[in-house]
Every structure is written in C-alpha cells, then in structure tokens.
Symmetry: C2
Subunit: 152 residues, 2 copies
C-alpha cells in the first residue's frame, strides 16, 4: 500500500493545529482535545517534532509547544522525516547497501529517480497550505499544482 505510518499522519494533523495559531503556546492536553488524537500519542509525537527542531517546547507550569518556524517554512516532508526518518521507498535508496540482491539489481538508479520525484512532491506542500482550505483550482489539477509549487 505504500503506506505512511499513522504516527506521521497524526503528526501532520498536530503540527497543522499548531500552525493555525503560530506564536501561541499549546500544551499537549489542549492539542489532544482539539485534534482527537490520544493524549499519550500527542506527547510522544510532540517530543519527536521538538527533537527535529520543528516545534519549540516551553517547560514548567503553563508551558506548551509552539511552531519553531513560520508555517510557510515547514513542509510535509520535514514532518514525515521527523517521525519516520529519511524518505526513501526502497531499502537500497537509503543505505545503498544490504538489499541482498544489489549486485544483480540494475534498477537502483530508477528507484532513486522515483524517490526524488516523491520527495519533491512532499517538499512542495507547506504547513501553511495544509492549514488553508484547498481551492477548487488545486483540486482540479493536482499534479500541475504540485509541480508548479515544486518548480519542476
């Protein structure tokens, strides 16, 4: 299914919620309420996002989290990378070694090509766009829209 983990999905929901009110601090409990993601999971994800430098944490009473950069400067690819590590659909694209059949595998370069295209698609969507409702125009020509955004 070429899947993204649920956690990465939740993470984008959470960080999109933060992007809706930049500057302002939100604690884990409040975010859980707003997004309906279970509280322990919210905590876990925010820690990951913090470690990746996407959100800032303020400890102590009346602490919370807030976006570390402008919503326009954070992409979906950043969020996925924070939660799931480097974006690469095949093993061999990640390490370069150890897929077991690499010596026979003539297609390594083709995979790399596909990976790059996917990465560009993910890097062309920012939190600002995720937070904003889609326009009819975007929905009608999704590929064109993405490729323009990515300046392909």
């Amino acid at each position: 299914m070429l899947k993204l983990g649920k956690l990465a999905d939740y993470a984008t929901v959470l960080i999109t919620a933060l992007a809706a009110r930049p500057q302002q601090l939100s604690n884990a409990h409040e975010l859980a309420d707003r997004t309906h993601v279970p509280l322990p999971t919210v905590s876990k994800l925010l820690k990951l996002l913090n470690k990746a430098g996407l959100v800032e944490a303020q400890r102590g009473a009346s602490g919370g989290y807030r976006l570390a950069r402008a919503p326009e400067a954070v992409t979906v690819a950043d969020v996925i990378r924070a939660v799931e590590g480097p974006i690469a659909i095949t093993e061999c694209s990640t390490h370069g070694t150890g897929c077991g059949i690499q010596s026979t595998c003539a297609s390594k370069n083709n995979w790399r090509l596909i990976d790059t295209a996917i990465r560009h698609a993910l890097e062309s969507v920012t939190l600002a766009q995720m937070a904003a409702p889609m326009t009819r125009r975007m929905l009608e020509a999704p590929v064109k829209f993405i490729s323009q955004a990515a300046r392909i």
Copy 2:
C-alpha cells in the same frame, strides 16, 4: 520511512527480469537463479502478478511465466498495486472513512493531492525504462525527466 514492502521491491526486480526477454517463458526456478530472490518468494510473487494480469502463466512441463503486455505498457505503479493494493500513503485516501479523526481533519484534500502526485511519479516509469540502463542525463535532472514522462 514511507516505505515500500520488500515484496513489491522484489516483484519489480522479477518482472524486470521477465521484461528483459519478452515472449520467452521463464519458470520460477530460473528466475530465482537470475535474480537471487528466494524460490518460494518468487513463486508467491509471480502468482500475484499473474492474478493482476501483468504476467501470463503456462502450466505443466516446460511451462513458466511471461509478460502479458509489452514492457512499455507496464508501469511500476501497476506492479506495486498488484502486490500491495491501492497506492495511497494515508488511510483516509483509501477508504475515505475510518481514520478516527476524519471529522476534524481539514487536510484530507491536501493528502489526496500528494497521493496523486506520487501516483503520477510511479505511473511514469515503465518496465522498459527499468530494464534499460539510466542515461547520465536522467540522473542529473531526475525530477524534470519524470515530469516530462508523466507529461506534467
């Protein structure tokens, strides 16, 4: 990591091996030898590819498998779909229901957008291209190459 299962990876290796000699029948044992994918796995995958109509099977003595269409007419997306089902990186893009927070999730359309872009990337690479060695030009401008192929 936005990963593709190993099986889908192996499947493309196998079908690329078939694409290298279209028309000609290859049995599971021979393919296992040529690709170094374990024999039982080869069997399993070829069955899946057959059910999806990507390869033709000939039973009985001196039987084997062969590509059902021209290598130019089969895309990486076809292969992935045959092994892993519909291509969609989030739950909500598949069924439309049941991601648990769908009512609050304002980003559904954005995910759909990203899905479409990824699908196009995968549909723009054919077995003929996978089987052929990459040119230097493709490697230098991967995104441009893919987008041209997809006619974005």
